[in-house]
Symmetry: C3
Subunit: 479 residues, 3 copies
């Protein structure tokens, strides 16, 4: 339905439809996400089974099934190899061989699909089946096999290969997220192939910047290798990071990304930075060292961005790997990352005091604590020239989450201090659906503003275009 | 009106009515509340005056009147006996004899009933008068005496005795809340009477678990007495608690309940637990001891629940007895309990690390800080198998509070990680009204989801039944 | 449009209009704001240019333009004189002469007016142009000169002088905000002039109470001068403050106002208060001293209010002058004040323990953290007789901000524990527009309550009058 999800109020409904119609054909700007660049490197890349494509990589789906007692094994999630896996503390036999039959997994998912009623995951998959795969059956036990068969048939066809979908999706630019130590071989292959799709990397240095990361010391060695700069001290470390940023930029990157549990920022003295870095090299850094060093490096990254023009992104407030048993047996990104409270007014001051007024810097903020929207983020973005607010992240990338976001920030920051939309997904075929939901939310929200007379039609049509397309493009410098 | 409180949008209104109609006749599941079991023990029990029934026990009502300068004395709230009452610090003569004339109290309440406009208390009492007592007059000075007379007349009739109302209300099960040291004499009397109503106890051990409780030492002696196990050390203390749980279970209990100002949980070493317990026995425990011991006992209670199958409830975030003058003269539960911020992601980790994945445990969480709904509670419940989210508690047991709750949690946790509804009331005749409001909110909310096309009719009718009935029954194991 | 901003639902729309119509003609009660009393002291006072009137004093406007890279210099904001201005750290030449041509500034504002789409600032200025100045052109580059010309023409006319507008606006009482050390010369001139407009001062002692204020020591000398009481120690300090309060009251004041970053309150021992005050006089007070002394003085101010009857206001939670470069060059109130989290349940206990039940005290609370509305403020106001909740402050003085406020607090506190509306503005000609928005929000909100059947028509018409007029008048004792 063209007017799906819009308010049932007739005046708002038709206004929303007109606004949506004006932007539904615009290309997709995908400035932040987690699609694997490998799928574009090989022109003949084919996705595996429907479960390989839709279930196993999608922690949004399997976390909910897990919450109702369905084991990750039943869903085909691979356990870590024995060397990485400590003895089980779970109540079930987690060393059981994972279910090999993807059709059985699919049936389990479909038999429990009621769990996703009224959730974004439920909406995305339904719309994706219909709009991308042309499958109009309701997900249920009854239809499980028919949907599986139809998906298998589609995935075998050339028009469902990644590059073909990229073109069908009308993606203007898609940024992946890549470790600072990544040699970007897939990105090089894409460029070498002569294909016209704009797939670009994003510089994400967390694993070499957060000194409490598992394997940080090894990552520093890797950084030395890939940069060609032997990291022996803080000065050479900074040089190596600058080398990597320049390399990423040469490969098309326009942005960096930084994850932190809090938004704490501060500038350490040169001697403190050096001392903490050396303690970290010796494996002697404390938890406090780690927090301070991350805060310092965020400011240092802002300094570099003010010089090289890479747009800086901060994702704040996720308590990663909250469930130790799941982490021990399955590893990261298993749906056990839980938000915590976040604070920006005080925490970001270290960075803003030095770079908040800089004419060449853009800093996009994302968080998982909705209370900061109206209290801190909108007032900050409504003052500091460098700030843009990222769209609702993760659990809040949803109809109501987006609506609450617009309600909370626009009155204070306007829409022109927003960073537009990004899909932030590793579920590649869900990309058009996710953008569609955002565009529909914005159309519905603006139709509400229009129906009440806060804005007029000229405003509304300008604003929907900005929200659907322009703001993401200009914020991320994707011109 | 059958469609009262529903959205005035015609499509949503009729859908809400159809959904509501499908569940309005379902029995009431009341798995958590504070009705006095005494009223069921005696088949001929009669309520006192309208003020005894509706005003004096209801701190929702008298707190609001107090906030506008009406003294608790004028409302008939008894002051504590002198031995328990320190010298007055209030601005008025709190030792005045409390007003004896209940009709005068009732007139005072009615004359100030405008204070309750647009509040749940106002809605409950209006609907209760109409639906339970068949009184359709608006509460006001003008109607005060007529309503009082009508209530007196009703209360004198056999059909308004507690057991008769239980049957008329179509209550399938009603749980009371009882101290760990309670001998459950009224529950025994109910069972002995052969009456068919299912009234069951709930094990609430706060007064023996929170070592900073007034009178804790005496409660421990009482625990020894009722359990028959002399509590001399931590080991015998745990044994006595296990004895009481087994006794409660034998009396029909399916759940425990635990109040804490924060959700802090941790497992103490055996020697630390023993040492703190012994300091407490000697009256030497510190505030820090008390906080740690409560956190430890919550984990220990989870351990016991994982073994005996009693569903565990946690109610977090009330600052009890905030007003010292009111507490000194009138005691507990006087409308002066004020919410504080609450945190779960970090605080609950001690318990979740050990029991979060347990196949036999259910933990229902309640809190008074709405910001935790979307940020912490829904993500936690959308991952951990043991967790269920209790319905909006106390101040949030209201039309808008429930709507905000559904808006905040369903997109992330779905509805199947919710614990359904409970009325949590000591105001027995308000029970059907409170369930009715919940069922109407859910119908209205689902009608909105349906009107926008997020869910279809099959989904909506399944979901309203789950929310109105099934989820409470299965969460609390009341099959 | 008479029904602008109301819900587009037909039933709600017409009910809202009827409710609004019943109060739109009521006089304006303006119990808290920042209009300069100077404009009323001279009967022939004329406003300057449109930019002098509408842009330069309005940090709501220039902060948003600044957030998009437009310098404050371009907007005519004066830089501090050199002696107060440290060397520049900004990325641009902040010592450039400020733009002198107000028409050019106006064109810059108009060319960027899209930034204010869907913001209260955008709505206020549009409505103010139409309703106060009779200018019905949309603000845009195209109309910039025509609007400027029309404004200049209006401002040259006698009917647009401050006193004439006061009468046209139908202001019943307007309170200014004045330092404790202010001699109130303009207020005296207003009284001496025989003009009938009720313009009254408000006692704001922050600069002599918060010992960490810039220039506190000099302010104490000023306090000695204006009070005629030599402040040598804590006792004489308290005497001087009491003298000033009595003077303000004699000049018509009915209220005091207190700003604090947190709501912390405590009663220091006499010796501690004296010791901290003496350290402050010697310039040796610590940050902790300052926080404790502010907390203590808030209780002391409550004590004085309980005696002299001045209504106490607290504005909590703004991090002032967050941007050090802007502060250094332009000073205070430059749009760089950012909210922080606030807490009341624990912080206000020091004050409430002593005065929460006082029959003669009124304390109105304002804050910038919406999460405290339902969690702490409404429960506190729904119990303590002294408390009233101020209307949504600053960033939340907006359509959605007000709606969220009513949604969050009324169910728990009712409307009769609210302080009604105040415009809190220095933008004098925007006053009727701001009250109009509040009255429309309340009409729309009550129409929603009415349409759903929570309240009836009698309730709704009583409530709109209370919200629009009565509550502000009675809370601030402006009878």
């Amino acid at each position: 339905m063209q007017n799906r999800y819009f308010s049932s109020d007739p005046a708002r409904n038709s206004a929303a439809l007109a606004l949506y119609d004006s932007v539904k054909g615009l290309p997709l700007i995908c400035p932040h996400g987690h699609v694997d660049p490998r799928v574009f490197a090989d022109p003949h890349y084919q996705f595996g089974s429907p479960v390989d494509l839709l279930i196993i990589p999608d922690h949004y789906i399997f976390r909910m099934l897990y919450s109702q007692g369905i084991s990750l094994d039943e869903l085909g999630i691979p356990i870590l190899p024995p060397s990485k896996s400590p003895p089980s503390k779970l109540g079930r036999d987690i060393n059981a061989v994972t279910t090999a039959d993807h059709r059985v997994i699919w049936r389990t998912v479909c038999a429990n699909w009621h769990l996703f009623r009224a959730t974004p995951t439920g909406i995305w998959l339904r719309d994706e089946l219909a709009d991308v795969f042309g499958i109009h059956l309701k997900i249920s036990s009854r239809n499980a096999d028919a949907i599986y068969d139809a998906l298998e048939e589609r995935l075998s066809r050339a028009e469902f290969r990644p590059r073909a979908l990229f073109e069908r999706f009308n993606i203007e630019a898609l940024a992946t997220t890549d470790a600072a130590t990544d040699a970007l071989a897939h990105h090089q292959a894409i460029r070498d192939s002569g294909w016209g799709g704009r797939v670009i990397p994003t510089f994400r240095p967390d694993a070499v910047v957060n000194i409490d990361t598992d394997g940080w010391r090894a990552n520093i060695d890797l950084l030395s290798d890939v940069s060609g700069i032997a990291v022996r001290d803080y000065a050479s470390y900074i040089q190596a990071l600058e080398q990597r940023r320049a390399f990423f930029k040469s490969m098309g990157a326009t942005a960096t990304d930084h994850a932190a549990s809090t938004a704490w920022t501060e500038t350490l003295s040169a001697s403190d930075a050096q001392a903490i870095f050396e303690r970290a090299l010796r494996g002697e850094a404390t938890a406090k060292d780690a927090a301070r060093f991350t805060g310092h490096m965020l400011v240092e990254m802002a300094r570099m961005s003010s010089e090289d023009g890479l747009v800086m992104q901060m994702h704040v407030g996720s308590y990663r790997n909250h469930n130790p048993s799941i982490f021990a047996h399955y590893g990261r990104d298993m749906g056990a990352d839980i938000p915590i409270r976040s604070e920006f007014t005080k925490n970001l001051k270290g960075l803003l005091d030095r770079f908040g007024n800089h004419p060449d810097l853009t800093l996009a903020l994302f968080n998982l604590d909705e209370t900061a929207y109206s209290r801190e983020l909108a007032p900050l973005a409504g003052h500091y020239p460098i700030l843009r607010l990222g769209p609702p992240w993760w659990f809040f990338d949803s109809w109501l989450g987006m609506t609450r976001f617009l309600d909370a920030v626009v009155e204070t920051a306007g829409i022109y201090n927003l960073a537009g939309f990004n899909d932030d997904t590793r579920a590649y075929p869900s990309i058009p659906t996710r953008h569609d939901v955002w565009r529909r939310v914005c159309a519905d929200w603006l139709a509400g503003q229009l129906a009440r007379g806060f804005i007029d039609e000229e405003d509304a049509f300008d604003m929907i275009r900005a929200l659907a397309y322009d703001l993401a493009k200009t914020t991320y410098r994707l011109d």
